[in-house]
Amino acid sequence: MSTEAAISRSIEEYLEILYTLTRNGSTASTTEISRQLRVSPASVTEMLKKLASKGYVKYSPYRGTTLTSEGIKIAQKVTRKHRLLERFLYDILKIGKDLVHKQACEMEHSLSDEAETALCQMLKHPDKCPDDSKLIPPCDLQFSSCEECLERRGEHLEEVGKRNQNLFSITDLKEHDIGKVTMIRGDRKVLQRLLDMGLTPGTNISVVRVAPLTGPVEVAVRGSKLALGRNIASNVFVEVLEN
């Protein structure tokens, strides 16, 4: 492996860990990162500084680290590949739950975007990884739904184009956050139900309530309020607007 590849790989690993650790809106501490990656705190600090200089993270020695939007973009991509691979290893190759994580870690860095899309289509757009049920991030292609991705199967990915903005699941938002509906994951039935209820692409929603214990999310949309069960809400992705 070339040094360059090794560096980019290591960057991806860091961003991936940071993505998971900062998911609930908190910051990641150096100790936590060093524990998870099994490297010394000193090298973590060094790496975080390097990532900060590249514009991937906001690093502050005392307040912890958060990802920048550029950092989130890379982190989402690699996390998505990782979790899709886990699904593939588990669902298709029938490899045990305890083994998929390590194997996916090895494979994620070399998976091309084309392979990623093909994998996602073959697995019928899975939404959760097998080992810890974490959400698989959405793809970065300009699709408004997985159904559209299927309809335009023959096209080259360049024709589809990539998004400029990072997408977040409604379940990642906090109360009072505002987002623009951009992508919906799910089959035609779920999609049609959501469209009929007014969650059409480009619609602004604001989060009214997030029920505790992975309960539903209440959103305000088109002058009314809707409760969406956690499983449905987690598959509605938005661009976060000002809150």
């Binding site: 408004s144 779920v190 309530r209 539903p216 002058g223 809707l226 409760a227």
Partner: protein
């Protein structure tokens, strides 16, 4: 405030009836859920209602009659829906009804406070070219929210009459009916709509519609609507046009063109555009003055808060159960002492066969009067209140994650609670769930909910002879059973769970008279099912017992009842009795042994008998409902599952309890 003052003559002489033959109308009420559609229906039809099923479907069909001016008007309350796609039975039924039965007028009930969402459906009713009139309801709620709607403008834009109403108070309904009759008489010209989609969509709709006309497919639906549905790739409509290859091909090509222009699947484009139109109309003619936080919003905050939300939810559920049981017990004892004067109510097992049969019939009647009615009426009354007010939606919201553990979502809580009163209406109530699998899972869980009759057994056997704490423990244990078996069923029954998508409408103060009417209609439909089964069933088991037919079965069962469960030999008979009506387990025991049961049973036997009685098999009425809703196969499987788990748990309990008690 003009109250609605229609007269409802229930009978008219045959002659007058015939003369009025040409003055009969059929109108359908259509609209979103929770917009006050059933309130309008109840206000218009009074007590002249028939609640049944859509032929061959487990969707409730409510029909009523109104006499207004010289007209006899049949009113059909269509299910509350948001769209005309084919993905739910309710939507399919509604659009087929409008297209095939061609009602004289369709009244679209619209919530004035949520105009945009409601107009999305109104636009579809216009598309299907129904003779339409808009009932702009809940004007009071809109006013409280600071929303003012320009009715004239709405009328012009939609091209159909719009009548503002506050249905709970009866305001505007007279005007609504007058306008309805004008539409039915074709006195109002329904203008061709000027509402059009964006150019690139509209031109393709027109092209396809022309092609459909040209092909002469003889469809019941209007061509433009069929064209839109084909572009939306509606599977049902596609099936209708399969004989014309040209139309199928053209719709595919046109849909693909639209999809390519908008970079979205065509059906998503059409939904987006329709909502865009709804938004344009709504925002053009309504003004929203920002008001201070309303009480409704404060209540909303309180009932969905992570601490107070659970407290209110628990309070609502506990309150509902507590109210049902206190009111139920009070009314029940009142009624049974009143009826007891007429004839002894306890089952008679000796004497002449005629007197035994008569006693059975009478006992069944008394049981219906004293067990079902006293519990069902108070329960429905309060349930209707928390349902109509919007509290139940919040409880479902808070309880969603807990219900997910047994494969159901928050809405399933409603029938489950209902099951504590009586299983029969509860299983009916499962219809609010989206899929058959969910209805089945909910119904299964419900069969373990200790209904009023089982409560009688638990209290009569355990609370009286062993101790109230043991009766309470049985209740708590039952919750555990519901949860555990519900979870097992969820894992075993194949299929995917649908998630919760539910509108959280604003809080409303429900109307007492509507509550009373709805309670009565619901109670009536239960009585029709339960009473015949009670009467015939009770007479049958008592007669069979007296003739000695049950004895051999009892003996055959003794290896289970005596050997495995440690119960006295008579238990088999009791369980056969209980299959008809659960409380017969207690009443039968009293008939055979007298009232001092402590002389004949040990504390462990009391508990085990109550436990078995609680879960061993759904009563006949429940089984009939299960079969009606899900077929005999499912009903049998559920009953067997009940029996197997009761035997297992009962046997284990007998052995464990022997060590403790």
């Amino acid at each position: 405030m003009a109250k609605l003052a229609f007269c409802h003559p229930t009978t008219s002489s045959g002659e007058a009836y015939l003369q009025k033959d040409n003055k009969r109308l059929t109108i359908a009420l259509a609209g979103n859920a929770n917009v006050g559609k059933s309130v309008v229906f109840n206000q218009l039809t009074g007590s002249n209602q028939i609640i049944g099923n859509w032929p061959g479907k487990t969707v409730e069909r409510a029909e009523g009659t109104l006499h207004f001016e010289d007209y006899e008007i049949k009113i059909i309350d269509l299910p509350g829906i948001y769209s005309f796609s084919t993905f739910s039975l309710e939507e399919l039924i509604s659009r087929e009804y409008i297209a095939f039965e061609k009602p004289d007028v369709v009244i679209n009930v619209v919530d004035a406070s949520v105009l945009e969402r409601n107009l999305f459906f109104t636009l579809q009713l216009i598309e299907v070219e129904a003779p339409l009139i808009v009932c702009l309801n809940q004007m009071d709620v809109a006013k409280k929210k600071g929303i003012v709607v320009d009715i004239e403008k709405l009328q012009t834009v939609l091209g159909v009459p719009v009548v503002p109403t506050v249905a709970v108070r009866g305001e505007g309904l007279r005007e609504l009916m007058k306008a309805t009759i004008k539409v039915a008489r074709h006195e109002v010209k329904i203008k061709e709509t000027k509402i059009k989609y964006g150019d690139e969509v509209e031109t393709r709709i027109e092209k396809l519609a022309q092609l459909i006309e040209f092909e002469q497919l003889e469809l019941d639906y209007p061509s433009r609507w069929v064209a839109i549905k084909l572009l939306e790739n509606d599977p049902e409509i596609r099936r209708l046009v399969t004989k014309s290859d040209v139309v199928v091909r053209a719709s595919e090509i046109l849909a693909e063109e639209i999809a390519r222009i908008h970079k979205e699947p065509c059906y998503a484009v059409i939904a987006s555009e329709r909502y865009f139109l709804a938004n344009m109309i709504a925002s053009n003619l309504q003004t929203q003055s920002k008001t201070k936080t309303t009480i409704s919003e404060k209540l909303d905050w309180l009932t969905t808060h992570k601490v107070t939300g659970y407290i209110t939810s628990a309070g609502v559920i506990a309150g509902l159960l507590l109210w049902t049981f206190t009111m139920g017990n009070f009314l029940s004892s009142l009624l049974s002492s009143a009826l007891g004067f007429l004839e002894p109510v306890n089952p008679k097992v000796s004497g002449t066969i005629v007197s035994i049969l008569w006693n059975g019939i009478f006992g069944g009647f008394v049981a219906g009067v004293t067990l079902v009615i006293p519990f069902v009426i108070p329960f429905y009354l309060v349930l209707t209140m928390i349902e109509d007010s919007g509290i139940l939606t919040r409880v479902a919201f808070m309880m969603d994650s807990a219900m997910h553990k047994i494969g159901l979502h928050g809405k399933a809580l409603i029938p489950l609670i209902l099951g504590y009163g009586c299983n029969v209406p509860a299983i009916y109530g499962c219809r609010i769930m989206e899929t058959r699998r969910e209805r089945l899972l909910a119904a299964f869980a419900i069969t373990f909910a200790p209904c009023a009759a089982r409560t009688v057994v638990i209290l009569g056997l355990v609370a009286v002879f062993v101790g109230a704490e043991w009766a309470l423990a049985l209740y708590a244990f039952d919750l555990l059973i519901i949860f555990t078996l519900g979870r097992i069923a969820f894992k075993v029954v194949p299929g995917k769970s649908t998630g919760l998508i539910m509108e959280m409408h604003s809080f409303k103060i429900p109307s007492l008279s509507i509550m009373a009417k709805q309670t009565w209609t619901r109670t009536k439909s239960i009585m029709y099912i339960v009473f015949p089964i009670y009467l015939v069933g009770s007479a049958f088991v008592q007669g069979a017992y007296a003739l000695g037919v049950l004895e051999p079965i009892n003996n055959a069962m003794s290896f289970l009842t005596v050997g495995w469960l440690g119960l006295p030999a008579v238990a088999g008979i009791l369980l056969l009795f209980g299959a008809v009506r659960k409380e017969l387990i207690l009443l039968g025991l009293v008939a055979i042994y007298g009232t001092n049961l402590a002389l004949f049973l040990t504390p462990v036997q009391f508990i085990v008998l109550a436990l078995i009685g609680m879960m061993y098999i759904p009563c006949v009425s429940t089984t009939v409902i299960l079969a009606k809703e899900f077929g005999w196969k499912a009903a049998t499987v559920i009953s067997m599952a009940n029996f197997a788990s009761a035997m297992f748990i009962g046997g284990v309990a007998f052995r464990l309890l022997a060590l403790i008690v």
